[in-house]
């Protein structure tokens, strides 16, 4: 049998399929050639215009819908990237197969052989295919569009198709950091977002761990009942409880001011006055953090309880013999064991609360008051974005720019932690 020249077949595959045909893989070659032809035709009929549209965002107001052009263009961009990936695979495949043939290995040539090899080697790709298709349309495409939107002037003055949208570079980011009004709002909202994230997440983690450790003691009777009660805040859908709490914390008629505080005043030496939960920014924030503690601790509690059950009793017995105090035992045995397993989960609590829209919006609508730019005193970045896009004067471009900043922060923090916790070591 004649020796193939891997380099030559690789060059042939610059037109996908030719290299495979040269290798004698008829079926594969024809399919690859077909994909290539399809892409060329698609590009000529639709793709080229779509990419041009992405650059111009339309030329005639009223006829061209700038946002549709952007979405189509982005989709075409993704299709092109996927084709390029196929192209690279194709070139490498041509060379690798040629080398394999030269080494005397059998490669699938006919339709039947190819189908058989697909059934075994292609099985993993077949199984993950639906996940990828869904992710492309519901995550990758919207994220790319948002990314692009951040560099446009898409706002209430530019609503397609009546008017065109145009690229404005980093103007939105510039406005956010340089324009005094937006800068003040961004600073205020961002500051509270950070405080909120740290306080609320830490509170729920601390309550969760503390409750798990307390409830894990051997002598406790009625563990089952307590276990059910402690899970209730997780089991009831959060939006239901948040809306209920919004009523319970009502300034004039809510149960906290009408019932709980008078009740506490019976027992406490100090007199607690009624508190303006909904109209005083400080107390709204306090209420929000407490409610998130209430809502979020059961998840941590369940997780930590599971970990506690797996810690060997011998460790504690040995520590007792050595004269360790309960605090020492907790610090040197319990806590390290919990962190070893649950640290990544704890971090997800922080990133979750960073974007915890429901509680902020449903409790007090981001209010009270106004810190400029449409944001209220208890608005965090994500709820500000929501207001920027749903208000009477929507600022889609600016909202997208903030979205990018949020995403960058969340991804940076998560990557850092995952790297540290070795989540990337996949084996």
């Amino acid at each position: 049998m004649e020796k193939l020249n891997p380099k030559k077949t690789m060059w042939l595959s610059l037109i996908p399929g030719l290299g495979q045909l040269k290798n004698g893989q008829k079926a594969k070659g024809i399919i690859f050639l077909g994909i290539f032809a399809l892409f060329i035709i698609e590009m000529a009929v639709f793709g080229f215009n779509a990419l041009v549209g992405l650059v111009t965002l339309g030329t005639v107001a009223g006829r061209d819908h700038s946002m549709f052009l952007m979405v189509r263009g982005t989709l075409q961009f993704l299709v092109t990237i996927i084709f390029l990936m196929f192209y690279i695979v194709n070139v490498r495949d041509a060379r690798k197969t040629a080398e394999a043939i030269n080494r005397g290995k059998d490669v699938p040539k006919t339709w039947k052989e190819m189908c058989d090899s697909l059934a075994t080697d292609g099985f993993p790709y077949l199984l993950t295919f639906p996940a990828y298709i869904l992710m492309i349309f519901t995550i990758i495409l919207p994220v790319f569009v948002t990314l692009l939107m951040a560099f446009t002037n898409y706002d209430f003055n530019h609503i397609p198709p009546a008017s065109l949208i145009s690229w404005i570079g980093i103007q939105n980011f510039h406005d956010m950091f340089m324009l005094s009004s937006y800068r003040a709002t961004f600073g205020a909202v961002f500051g509270w977002t950070v405080i909120w994230t740290l306080c609320a997440s830490t509170l729920q983690i601390v309550i969760g761990i503390f409750t798990a450790v307390v409830a894990h003691q051997d002598f406790i009777k009625g563990k089952k009942i307590f276990g059910i009660i402690f899970l209730l805040p997780w089991a009831v859908p959060a939006f239901v409880t948040i809306m209920s709490f919004s009523n319970i914390f009502n300034d004039s008629a809510g149960a906290i001011n009408i019932q709980v505080i008078p009740f506490l005043n019976h027992f406490l030496p100090v007199h607690i006055p009624q508190i303006s939960w909904m109209t005083d920014p400080f107390w709204t924030k306090v209420a929000l953090i407490m409610i998130q503690g209430w809502l979020g601790f059961p998840y941590i509690y369940v997780l930590v309880t599971g970990i506690l059950q797996s810690i060997s009793e011998d460790l504690y017995e040995a520590a007792t013999i050595d004269g360790a105090t309960p605090v020492q035992k907790f610090n040197h045995i319990t806590l390290p064991a919990i962190l070893a397993v649950a640290a990544p989960t704890f971090v997800t609590q922080y990133t979750f609360n960073f974007n915890n829209f429901s509680i902020i919006y449903l409790f007090n609508n981001g209010g009270p008051g106004d810190v400029g730019g449409g944001a209220g005193n208890s608005d965090i970045l994500i709820s500000w974005i929501y207001k920027l896009t749903t208000g009477t004067t929507p600022q889609y471009g600016l909202a997208s720019a903030i979205t990018l900043i949020i995403s960058a922060i969340v991804i940076a923090v998560s990557l850092f932690v995952f790297k540290k916790s070795h989540a990337f070591d996949m084996d």
Binding site: M67, T120, F123, P124, L127, T128, P130, A131, L134, M135, T138, I139, P142, V143, V145, T146, Y154, T211, V214, A215, F219, I229, F230, L232, P233, A235, P237, A238, F239, V240, M243, S244, S246, N247, G254, A255, Q259, V302, L303, G306, I307, S310, A342, P344, T351, N355, I382, I385, Y386, T389, T390, Y396, S400, T403, S407, I411, L415, F418, S421, A423
Partner: protein, 291 residues
Amino acid sequence: MIKMAEQIKVKKQSSIKRNRFLKHFFTYLYMILLSIIIIYPLLITTMTAFKSSDVVAFTLDFSGPWTLNNFKELFTDTLYGTWYGNTLIISIFTMFVQVAVITLAGYTYSRYNFAGKKWSLTFFLVVQMVPTMAALTAYYVLGMLLNGLDHDWFLILIYIGGGIPMNTWLMKGYFDTVPYDFDESAKLDGAGNFTIFWKIVMPLVKPMIAVQALWAFMGPFGDYMTARYLLREEENLTVAVGLQEFISDPKNQQVALFAAGAILIALPICALFFYLQRYFVTGLTAGGAKG
């Protein structure tokens, strides 16, 4: 001397006893206080559902009269039944498709070695961190373009897609806990890819699948933001959005009606939750251990 030693011993014992008493006392005190804090808001919401519809706020009040009128009113005077139906349809579709997709993907990543595996798994991990719901405007434009606004299928698609990266990752973690030896011995017995997956591994990961199904099912019930943004017509809303309308107007809050609607959502979900609860711990620790 002996007497004194005995006295010290007795003292010591009584101090141990006192310490133990204090420990028990404070443990129970904490657990009971926490229980009250948890139950109180839930209890007063539940009670309000059975009160006459002119109550303005939830309070603890055991005096009657009790009534079922709010539940009747929900289904006769409001669109609650329609919203509930919408949400159920969205939830059920989301659940089935998402569980199928992530089970296949999770299994693949756990069991096969293939070109691009590590690369794409990292991709899943990074994509999982993107707060997709912040891309609201993009979803809105996409919905306009595809004529998906106000349609269930569009929302279902978004819910399914959004949950894939994170949950595939969790599923993979759980599949990893099933020993490979099982696959190997089945392979020796001549089982094919599909048989190994369906007959050998699947039965062992049922707990995690149950948990994933519950989460996927609960998602649409709990989501307010996306549904509010993408659904416009009254009769197309989901319960989360619809229910909020009862109390969104501060001057005319229908709290009793809201409470009744809330209970009808919370009860079945709570029941499912506690039914599947025993799987949570294994699912969480096994899947979460690796991130």
